[in-house]
Symmetry: C2
Subunit: 333 residues, 2 copies
């Protein structure tokens, strides 16, 4: 029989529809699909490829001299503008703020056919360090309240360009969605004196059945209350509210684990489209005992319809424990 499961941290419910369950390998993408590494190394029409850099949009690059390994550029069609001052209207139904903020693209690699799952540990680390570096710079702008780091891999995940890239958006507000999560975490802390994410991490380590990968600093697991098949969280073992405060050593240990998890998805599910998100505390809220930064990975293997929109409850036809066991199998090289 199906069951409803609740995420202890977000308190959101999902329906694990085991009556509809398919075997985990049924989620592998069609094998005739062109996978990322099968593309060309260079595309003359790609704005992120070497030689096509639009320098007027460039924010920073690493290294400064010689061939770059990662770059941050302003989005050519930004949803928010970084120049101007914030003006707020608060008048009945009209509540608005000028669209000030940052909307930037992190180009993750020089090669058009690179993808995080197949990069070296050092290359993945460079991407993570660039996330943190640019995030710290944006956080120093006092108009900004929240930074959202995310990646759309593949069309179904919303990517319009195939060259490996992430996006960084700096917002002048804290979204309600993020506020709710923080409030739930604070309630748990008030009740128990513990971080709910630390509690979750400990429970997952004891149970072991949803673990995908693990090292001294991070744990990756399929969520007990996964909203969709192979929905994964990577939690740092060291309690910390802000990704921006993670140490160099932590970044160094995150890289191989993240690469391993993404390679397992790439290999077992044939390069699925996915979204990746770094969830972190609002820029002006200090380190505290209750919030804990993490990475969420959401393969786009199912889609939302009226029920999800109307209830916030997702119907997930895959058993999280089976998904995790499948990903723990050794990938074929």
């Amino acid at each position: 029989m199906a069951e409803l499961r609740q995420n202890i941290a977000t308190r959101e419910w999902v329906i694990i529809a085991s009556e509809r369950a398919r075997r985990p390998n049924a989620y592998a993408e069609a094998s005739n699909r062109i996978r990322t590494h099968e593309r060309h190394e260079h595309d003359p029409a790609c704005p992120f490829c070497v030689g096509n850099e639009e320098l007027d949009l460039e924010v920073c690059r690493d290294p400064e001299d010689g061939p770059w390994t990662t770059r941050v550029v302003r989005n050519k069609y930004p949803a928010l503008a970084h120049d101007g001052s914030l003006a707020r209207v608060f008048n009945g139904v009209e509540r608005r703020i000028t669209g000030i903020g940052y909307h930037e693209v992190l180009v993750e690699h020089r090669l058009h056919n690179a993808t995080l799952a197949l990069m070296t540990d050092e290359e993945v680390r460079d991407v993570l360090l660039m996330y943190r570096r640019r995030g710290q710079q944006i956080a120093s702008d006092t108009r900004i309240e929240q930074i959202v780091f995310f990646k759309n891999h593949g069309e179904r995940a919303g990517a319009s360009l195939p060259h490996a890239h992430s996006q960084i958006i700096g917002l002048p507000i804290v979204p309600g969605n993020i506020r709710h999560r923080i409030e739930e975490a604070r309630r748990f802390f008030d009740d128990t004196g513990q971080c709910v994410f630390c509690t979750m991490l400990n429970d997952e380590l004891i149970s072991g059945e949803r673990i995908v990968a693990i090292n001294d600093h991070y744990v990756a697991f399929v969520l007990y209350a996964s909203s969709s098949p192979f929905h994964i969280w990577i939690l740092p073992r060291h309690h910390r509210a802000s990704f921006l405060n993670a140490s160099d050593e932590e970044m160094m240990h995150l890289a191989p684990l993240l690469r391993d998890v993404l390679f397992r998805l790439y290999s077992h599910l044939n390069d699925p489209d996915y979204n990746m998100i770094i969830r972190t505390t609002p820029t002006k809220e200090p380190e505290n005992g209750y919030f804990h930064w993490y990475i969420a990975i959401i393969p786009r293997l199912s889609r939302s319809a009226g029920f999800e929109l109307g209830s916030g409850v997702w119907i997930n036809p895959a058993l999280p424990e089976q998904c995790a066991a499948f990903l723990r199998e050794e990938p074929q090289a």
Copy 2:
């Protein structure tokens, strides 16, 4: 410049990305699309067509005798089962309830090529009355806490069968998403002594610029803080928390307005895929001063990616005021 707008009722933010704005008619679907009414009246392979009724799945029909106009059937692959008792586990990360509930389909019309936008007022009224009737029956089951009424029209909205139908899901929990909305409405009521939805409705009537259709009992408008192009709410003018308590007279007046709004979308945007949701109070929560039932209509003209998943903030490239003005133009018959 773009602006961020906040929904006064849900307190969710959206980015109205006017820099990316397209003219409203740019959202019309390709005109070579086969629209609903161009299909056949009968499909021998359709389980909802006359002659193919699976009577063992039938819950109720109207009228009882003679040719039916609407039917409710159990979903053949239900996400929840209606037999059994609720058992709850509340143990660390493991929080679950047995998957008890209702998952039913409301077949809206005998004909395979019917669609709400093109039905008569009486036919739409019959659909609404069946929603309410079956909702009342499910609400009498004490295991049920929340009913979600929704419709997926078209593939992009999640419909797997083209024959016009809605779905009714009865849940043994109140989803967090719905709880948050109720709590926000209660806070507004505590502060102001007024229903936030009544306030919104009054403000929209005074401004007028986002109104799509109106009668003595209902107002349809494009949301000030629309999460996507042509995102519409239909609010009853009479304050009431539960759709299940709406009167026959109210249902009679809702039908022509709903049909008019859906016909405008059908006509102006060439039969777009959409989701429709009836939002109503939890089944065991009585009528109160702060919550207000309504219908949301969300055409599927844009899609979510990592940013929306990570922040709950949607980027909407269409100006709500322009969308409403476009829909107010007289439809071509």
